[in-house]
């Protein structure tokens, strides 16, 4: 009897326990799920952050180094100071670029043709002679001697050395090769089928292109069929309209037919063009003589032989015809292994540096004349149209001046407004409306502040366009709500007992606020201010409206000079087509992020350092 009762009691207890256990388990599961959501969100954010940072760093870091040539330049008095005045003004005006140019030409004496010489000159930046000029101006005794100076190269040449050129494949010749000349157009014949791999590869690329062209032609034909069907429909409806003699319908059908006829014509010509080119390529492939003409859409093949370099134009299995890029020393036969076949894998059409440029740059590198150094110019120069000359000094100075104006306006005004609203203002409808609107202002799109600045500061007050003072004023409007809100929060966070204590010993309200509440709120106010300033530093849109988006080479020296700021500079550069500016854009982003990082770090430090607990 008792056993039965006990068992029943145990059963009910067990039943209750399983229900409770299930609840506990459900609770644990819910907590686990919530934790996982959090972890997932953090992981996702982390992944995106890493992607962005690696991308920016990968693109931007190369811009912090710059390649230059170390050339021995003969400082010819005839170009610099023919009258021998030794006057710095005269020297400064001398044609140093000509000196640098002739130094480079001295390295490649075989370049005589005008067009080719121009390509050689183009390796140099337009600022190539800056270092030489500075050296000679500071030390006129160099005139008449020769000096080894760093010579800035063009952005394309710079990018070539930074790996945006081409992969280069080299393999030794297996047969003995004989050139027919040392300069100009020559042929080289090998005793083995040394060039057959290249020929096979070229033929393969041609057959791929022929196939692509045929597919393209087929696509055009398909579209053409739909267009023709549409034309048939329209023509029959036109005929019907003519029969009915309905002028309106005739006009409508005719106007609809016109573009269709145009489409048909274009498609027909495109289709036949593609077909013709495909047929041409097929014919080349089918030819028995197994010779191919190289085009700039195919990898470049070159032969290095007898100290010179030949660019292949006609490629056969054992014989090539080509143009000499670097002169050969002799016409003698080169033994197997003593000559090389070099392939620039990226087709010339897809490269910024052509085969000649690559050849010259590789030769300069072999001669040990190419050096890399930290790109100081990036921090010391203003904007430029040449990527290798462009720097962020102007934008940095503009940003600094703009932020200075913003800070000078925002901090006293914002903190004053916060103190007044928080501590002194009578609470009524008006102050309530003001408070709500301050909070709303913080959410107003920044471009609206730009429009306001344009209307008020430029058009009404007549302040100078593009000037940091206007930018600073506009950004001050933008940041003011943030600072007021942060300062009010900081003031509110000071315990009221401190103020009561001060009032209790007979301090006036103002004394209590300025002696006790404000000092305790200052870390919070500073944090808010720095974050507001960081926000202002990264702001672009309102500054576009007030003309800080102009191309300005000079570094601004006062708040009324025309200038630009860092984020606008980034925006400007990101829009430019030159590849060199892509790296500059990323590099400027790194600098901007660096500043934001430092500012936020300062905010955190101030908060930690001066935070008081009571």
């Amino acid at each position: 009897m008792t056993d039965v009762a006990l068992a029943a009691a145990a059963r009910t207890r067990v039943a209750r326990d399983t229900a409770a256990e299930a609840r506990v388990r459900a609770r644990y599961r819910a907590e686990w799920r919530f934790r996982m959501y959090g972890l997932l969100a953090i992981a996702l954010t982390g992944v995106f952050l890493v992607i962005v940072l690696t991308d920016v760093l990968r693109k931007g870091l190369p811009a912090f180094t710059q390649y230059h040539l170390n050339l021995e330049v003969n400082v010819d008095p005839a170009e610099i100071d023919p009258q021998n005045t030794r006057d710095p003004g005269v020297i400064r005006a001398g044609d140093f670029h000509a000196l640098v140019r002739s130094a480079l030409r001295g390295i490649f004496p075989e370049v005589s043709e005008r067009a080719v010489r121009r390509r050689l000159d183009a390796l140099l930046s337009s600022g190539a002679s800056d270092a030489l000029r500075d050296r000679v101006v500071s030390d006129p005794s160099l005139i008449g001697t020769s000096a080894r100076v760093p010579v800035l190269i063009s952005a394309d040449a710079d990018l070539y050395f930074k790996g945006l050129g081409t992969n280069i494949d080299r393999r030794d010749g297996r047969g003995a090769a004989t050139p027919t000349g040392t300069i100009g157009e020559i042929s080289i014949t090998s005793t083995a089928n040394d060039f057959s791999p290249d020929l096979t590869y070229i033929k393969l690329t041609i057959s791929i292109r022929a196939r692509d062209l045929r597919a393209e032609a087929e696509r055009f034909r398909r579209s053409l069929r739909t267009v023709e069907a549409r034309r048939g429909e329209l023509e029959s409806s036109l005929a019907a309209a003519r029969n009915a003699n309905d002028a309106a319908r005739i006009a409508a059908a005719e106007s609809a037919l016109k573009p269709v006829l145009g489409d048909q014509e274009t498609l027909t010509s495109r289709a036949s063009e593609a077909e013709n080119r495909a047929a041409e390529l097929q014919a080349r492939l089918d030819r028995v003589d197994s010779q191919e003409t190289l085009e700039d859409t195919q990898p470049s093949v070159l032969v290095a032989i007898n100290g010179g370099l030949v660019k292949v134009k006609q490629l056969g299995n054992a014989r090539i015809d080509g143009e000499v890029l670097l002169p050969l020393s002799s016409e003698s036969e080169a033994a197997p292994g003593a000559w090389q076949i070099i392939t620039y894998i990226t087709p010339e059409a897809n490269r910024r540096a052509g085969d000649r440029e690559v050849t010259w740059l590789e030769r300069l590198k072999q001669m040990g004349l190419v050096e890399a150094g930290f790109n100081w110019r990036f921090f010391s120069a203003g904007d430029s149209r040449e990527p290798e000359l462009a720097g962020i000094r102007g934008a940095l100075t503009g940003s600094a001046l703009t932020l200075l104006v913003t800070l000078l306006i925002c901090l006293p005004l914002g903190v004053g407004a916060a103190i007044y609203l928080e501590e002194f203002a009578i609470k009524n409808r008006v102050t309530e409306v003001i408070e709500v609107n301050i909070n709303n202002l913080a959410a107003v799109p920044s471009i609206v502040f730009g429009l306001l600045g344009l209307a008020v500061f430029l058009n009404f007050i007549g302040l100078p366009r593009s000037a940091p003072i206007v930018g600073g004023l506009v950004l001050a409007l933008l940041v003011l709500p943030t600072i007021i809100i942060a300062a009010r929060a900081a003031l509110k966070a000071v315990p009221p007992s401190i103020k009561e204590a001060a009032l209790g010993v007979g301090a006036s309200h103002q004394q209590a606020v300025f002696h006790h509440v404000l000092p305790l709120a200052i870390p919070g106010i500073l944090t808010g201010t720095i974050i507001g300033m960081a926000h202002a530093l990264g702001e672009t849109a309102p500054l576009l409206m007030i003309g800080m988006v102009a191309f300005i080479v000079e570094v601004p020296t006062s708040v009324t000079d025309a200038g630009t700021v860092l984020p606008v500079q980034i925006y400007l550069w990101s829009d430019l087509p030159e590849i060199g500016f892509q790296a500059k854009t990323a590099a400027a982003i790194i600098v901007l992020l660096g500043f934001l990082f430092v500012m936020n770090g300062a905010a955190i430090y101030l908060r930690r350092r001066f935070e008081r607990r009571w």
Binding site: K427, E500, L503, G504, H515, R612
Partner: protein, 272 residues
């Protein structure tokens, strides 16, 4: 310590002279409204000079509200409205021509929770005299600080660490520092709003001793929840209930022979 065991026993000898001493504060028909709420109803009371008057009563009965009327601390609450008259030395403190800062220098206050400034011990005490220009020189100021700390019987404990932050002291020391701070501006009246409620019994005992010493020179009003404390430190006691001053008189009388039934119920612990 004995006095803490027996709940209601009047220790301080309330001499008859005290009752007949000069009236320092006279309140006439004081009403306080917080918005629509009528927090204090028609309170009239006389507070004698150089004696301790205790305000007792259950929570929310208006005793703190009345205390804060005496140095016009209620002014800092925008919705508070005070009617009636409070006279200090026959001077109406709600007179529009009166400077509230001057008033607060005469009527010091010690709060429920110790609230020293987050500054050094020295600066805590020196702040009041400095803003009121009580010290002619640095030496003067030092003299005032030392005297005030001595009067608050804190000097022996902090003389070695005057430059340490006041917030670093123990709770009881902080409260005595607050008393020293109040004394430093030479007030005539010291208001204490439950000064021991955040302190342990030993610190409480020290504060009570201090209050007993201070009454020789100052008029003291203390709001307390503890009837034992009222009995121990005060000469006169006022009992508030629901915003009404129910009964006021000699502490001994209030605790032994109250005339109102509500007072009797409260001091015998039937409510509150």
């Amino acid at each position: 310590m004995d006095m803490m065991v027996h709940p209601i026993k009047v220790v301080s000898a309330a001499s008859p002279e005290v009752a007949s001493a000069a009236i320092k504060i006279a309140a006439r028909s004081v009403n306080v409204f917080y918005g629509d709420k009528h927090a204090l109803k028609d309170v009239s009371v006389d507070v004698p000079e150089r004696a301790v008057t205790a305000f007792i009563g259950p929570s929310g009965c208006g005793k703190s509200t009345f205390l804060r009327c005496i140095n016009r601390m209620n002014d800092t609450i925008p919705i508070a409205r005070v009617t009636g008259q409070i006279l200090i030395d026959d001077l109406d403190i709600y007179d529009p021509s009166l400077d509230v800062v001057q008033l607060r220098a005469r009527v010091g206050m010690v709060f429920q929770k110790p609230n020293p400034f987050p500054k050094s011990v020295y600066e805590n005490v020196a702040y009041g005299p400095r803003i009121h220009g009580l010290a002619k020189s640095k030496a003067d100021l030092e003299e005032i600080v030392v005297t005030s700390l001595k009067k608050a019987s804190l000097w022996e404990e902090v003389k070695e660490r005057l430059t340490d932050p006041g917030t670093g002291l123990s709770g009881g020391q902080q409260q005595r520092l607050c008393i020293a701070r109040a004394i430093a501006v030479s007030p005539e009246i010291i208001l204490m709003d439950e000064p021991c409620s955040a302190l342990d019994p030993i610190a409480t005992a020290r504060i009570e001793e201090l209050i007993d010493e201070l009454r020789a020179n100052y008029t003291i009003i203390i709001v307390t929840h503890s009837m034992q404390q009222a009995a121990r430190v005060s000469q006169r006691t006022a009992f508030f209930h629901l915003g009404v001053l129910v009964e006021e008189g000699q502490t001994e009388t209030i605790f032994t022979n109250p005339s109102d039934k509500r007072t009797l119920d409260y001091i015998t612990g039937r409510f509150g």
